[in-house]
């Protein structure tokens, strides 16, 4: 079946040009101490993939700079030698965005992990990219502040990686994504020139380039410093656990809550497979027989929370809820959330592997798409556990499989592709927070036309004319787009007569 180059589950050993490799290593030795230049197979193995381990490759060399000046010198060297450069944070990404280029350099940013400044007057923090997401809120909690975007990997993921993916999380329903919580980003172009987007105020001069960089998956610049906005910690927080006897009712309840004018701090859903797995693992008190549960967090002033709580309870009753539990203590609140937050590792106990999807859809389509996923699950014979950010329609079906069984990986990817196609069909997107990387590059032509993809390539060429930054990720080559569309429709490319067209 004709398709673009893809990587099998075993890592690919590509012997890079030895002359380039030696010249690069020699020059890197002038920039970094030897201990921070990794070049043997044994040294490089830990960096062969990010959180999506089915895509692996060893880079030609990996470096771990400890200073901004070193980052700049490495970039300039790669630019001069035309060596591809892939940037890596904590390696928690789920779309192979940090999969190394076998003929390139992997720039590992984890040593740049200082919180440079916390300004309690302006309620901002200046950070190096290797700072862990959770570490930000931990550091500012003493000042009554927090950093809102909280991906589920926040204990490990880095703010630099969050910038690359425009990371979301449970609380982005109310508080926005990374793009809504960042004031300024500094770093270097691929030519090694310093560049800063945004400033200390709320507007920037000229074009609005922060949104272009945030979510660009390391393809437009290398980020070395980030200024984030901090928010006052909510005075009161309530957590509700609502149980339903059908997915459809739970999905409708999600729509109804938001339609009533309540914007919860978080609104998560789990289906029965996920509930059972989480309960076996975390013992959070989830109802094992519920078809679905909603976890709803409401925050604000005490009066505001009280009003929203009342409104939410009424909506849940009208939506056919079976039971409503409001956490009575801080311990119980933490326990309710513990189940949700440990859902992924809990589901991971059920089978050797799982494949986590990331499509986002309008809330009104939740019941329809979840029903479709259930039907696919039966058709393909793979169990699915659904754990996701229902409030903003960001699905995370976890498809359970065994990569060691021949053909299962390909079959699961086929099923995943159908889920993403359904997301587009109902007016959504193929990725809500994990990014395209390599994983979803074949679905990009289903969401974008050739002209739109061409515009993306023009943007890339404008900022990285040599195509050295994370090449081959995110934006598919135009010559592959027809193939990908034909594959999706089970057609030969020549049978695909009608192009995907945008509408005015």
């Amino acid at each position: 079946m004709a398709c673009a180059k893809r990587y099998s589950a075993t890592w690919i050993s590509v012997v890079a040009d030895p002359v380039i490799r030696e010249a690069l290593l020699s020059a890197l030795g002038e920039i970094l101490d030897a201990q921070f230049i990794l070049s043997t197979q044994e040294q490089l193995k830990p960096f062969e993939c990010d959180g999506l381990s089915v895509y692996k490759a060893l880079p030609m060399v990996a470096v771990l700079p400890g200073k901004e000046t070193q980052v700049q010198e490495v970039i300039r060297l790669c630019h001069q030698m035309k060596v591809p450069l892939v940037t890596r944070g904590a390696g928690t990404g789920l779309s192979a965005g940090a999969k190394p280029d076998p003929e390139g350099l992997l720039l590992v940013m984890t040593r740049l992990s200082n919180i440079l400044d916390i300004n309690t007057a302006t309620q901002t923090a200046r950070l190096q990219p290797g700072v862990r997401n959770l570490a930000i809120s931990e550091a500012v909690k003493q000042h009554g502040l927090f950093y809102a975007p909280d991906p589920s990997s926040q204990i490990a993921c880095s703010i630099g990686g969050n910038i690359a993916e425009n990371a979301g999380g449970v609380h982005c329903l109310k508080y926005g994504l990374t793009i809504h919580n960042v004031l300024q980003v500094s770093g270097f172009t691929m030519a090694g020139d310093p560049v800063t987007l945004g400033n200390g105020g709320l507007d920037n001069a000229g074009l609005n380039l922060l949104p272009l960089i945030i979510g660009s998956e390391g393809m437009l610049m290398v980020v070395t410093e980030i200024t984030v906005k901090l928010l006052p910690l909510p005075r009161h927080v309530e957590v509700i656990l609502a149980s339903f006897d059908s997915i459809e009712k739970a999905g409708q309840a999600v729509s109804n809550i938001i339609a009533q004018g309540v914007i919860p701090g978080g609104l998560e859903m789990m289906d029965n497979n996920a509930i059972r797995a989480a309960e076996d693992y975390a013992h959070a008190g989830y109802p094992r027989d519920a078809a679905a549960i909603l976890l709803i967090e409401i925050d604000g002033s005490s009066i505001n929370v009280s009003e929203q709580l009342q409104s939410t309870r009424q909506v849940l009753q009208e939506s056919g809820v079976i039971s409503v539990k409001i956490a009575k203590t801080e311990t119980e609140k933490a326990l309710f959330w513990k189940g949700r937050k440990s859902a992924f590792p809990a589901v991971g106990r059920l089978s050797p592997d799982y494949y986590c999807m990331d499509g986002t859809i309008p809330r009104k389509s939740l019941a329809e798409v979840l029903g479709y996923i259930h039907a696919l699950s039966e058709q393909y014979g793979f169990a699915v556990a659904n754990v996701f950010h229902a409030g903003d329609g960001n699905l995370h079906p976890l498809i359970l499989f065994d990569a060691n069984q021949p053909g299962q990986l390909e079959s699961v990817e086929s099923m995943g592709a159908k889920i993403l196609e359904k997301c587009i069909e109902v007016g959504g997107t193929i990725t809500g927070e994990h990014g395209v990387g390599l994983e979803k590059i074949r679905q990009m032509p289903l969401q974008f036309s050739d002209d739109e993809i061409s515009q993306f390539h023009s943007i890339k060429a404008a900022l990285d004319p040599d195509n050295l930054l994370n090449p081959g990720k995110n934006i598919p080559l135009l010559k592959h787009c027809q193939e990908y569309r034909a594959l999706a429709k089970n057609l030969h490319p020549n049978q695909l007569l009608i192009q995907h067209e945008p509408t005015a």
């Binding site: 920037n204 949104p211 729509s255 959504g428 993809i453 943007i459 005015a504």
Partner: protein, 363 residues
């Protein structure tokens, strides 16, 4: 409702063929903003109508030429609003112009900016291609975020055909109060209000008075005064006046803006002091909790841009006399950023037909 996409596309194609520049115009309500542009008018006001509005989804999609007043009215019927409170400056203001200008209103630091509110857009690029980016869901990271790039692009990258916006439930009640407060004490005071969980939604400082708007549910606003009295002294505002105040502030109808033929806009870190740039205290009006200053001054542009740069902010010559030809209007860019502006302009508008010179002379 009228769909003029193909007409606009034909006009762009013709401009490319004839190598003639185009001046993109909606309601012309912000013609004063930025450099004057020479070119044939590309009028988007005929391309109007709300394409899709789903209150339960908090999403609205409308064509660029739709008057902002029509959008605000449609939202109000469902107790919803645009979080960013974009200024109109004229009844003719359109959605496309508001997004292209990228200006947000008094609620910006507490609710959202106009950029934050954009979920998706359809544009006409400089190759006369109709392209769609983003969509109607907030969490959408497929490809580069061209939709939010278009916000504030001043028509230099392309013609906005339609925009999909995130909307929010209207706050049910508002109340404003006046506090006696020297400017240097206001930031700490506002931070204290927010730390106590008080629902600040806008601020305005003029000389030694700080006006604060609070927006929340009915019960919370009804009890607000009692809560404030526990910690602060203030003057309560008459309800009929406070609503009008914030509207006038947003639309520059407040007396401060009268006869302000030369007006600077400084977007700064909230703790940056700009009062040294003013001839007298009453020449500064500050919003956004200290992050936005309107300034009337005789100081030179160089001095103002320099002060903004040193303090990690940016300045804009927001209004100037029509008889003047200022050399620079927008904060000068650092070299790499300037290069990026040129390259991105070329990527979207390779023939340089859209609003040439509107922001920087090379665009």
């Amino acid at each position: 409702m009228q769909d003029n996409a193909r007409i606009l596309q034909d006009q762009v194609q013709q401009a490319i063929t004839e190598q003639k520049p185009l001046r993109i115009q909606g309601g012309n309500s912000k013609a004063f903003y930025g450099f004057a542009v020479q070119g044939e008018v590309l009028d988007t006001s005929g391309h109007h109508g709300i394409i899709e509005y789903e209150p339960t989804e908090l999403v609205l999609r409308a064509r660029a030429g739709t008057p902002l007043s029509e959008i605000n009215s449609a939202l109000k019927q469902h107790q919803q609003m645009l979080a960013c409170e974009p200024p109109c400056f004229s009844q003719s203001a359109t959605l496309g112009g508001a997004v292209a200008a990228g200006l947000s209103g008094p609620s910006r630091p507490y609710l959202a900016s106009i950029q934050d509110s954009v979920l998706g857009c359809t544009i006409l690029n400089g190759q006369a291609q109709i392209l769609g980016f983003g969509g109607k869901v907030m969490k959408n990271v497929a490809g580069y975020d061209v939709s939010r790039l278009m916000a504030g692009s001043m028509g230099c990258l392309g013609v906005i055909l339609d925009i999909t916006l995130k909307v929010i439930p209207s706050t049910r009640a508002e109340k404003s109060f006046v506090f006696s407060m020297e400017p240097e004490n206001s930031l700490a005071f506002i931070n204290d209000l927010r730390k106590r969980g008080l629902p600040v939604s806008a601020t305005c400082q003029l000389c030694a008075q700080l006006m604060v708007r609070f927006s929340a549910g009915n019960t919370e606003i009804a009890e607000l005064e009692d809560r404030l009295e526990e910690h602060y002294s203030f003057i309560e505002w008459l309800e009929s006046d406070d609503y009008l105040f914030w509207e006038q502030l947003r639309e520059h109808q407040h007396p401060f803006f009268e006869q302000a033929s030369t007006l600077w806009r400084l977007s700064m870190p909230a703790d940056a002091d700009i009062h040294g740039l003013a001839d007298k205290p009453e020449d500064v009006l500050t919003e956004w909790g200290g992050s936005l200053h309107w300034l009337k001054t005789t100081k030179s542009a160089d001095e103002i841009f320099n002060h903004a740069r040193i303090n990690n902010g940016q300045a804009t010559l927001f209004r100037y006399p029509a008889t003047q030809q200022p050399a620079t209007i927008f904060q000068p860019l650092a070299p790499a950023l300037e290069q990026w502006h040129k390259s991105l302009k070329a990527a979207f508008d390779p023939f340089g037909i859209f609003n040439p010179g509107k922001m920087y002379t090379q665009e």
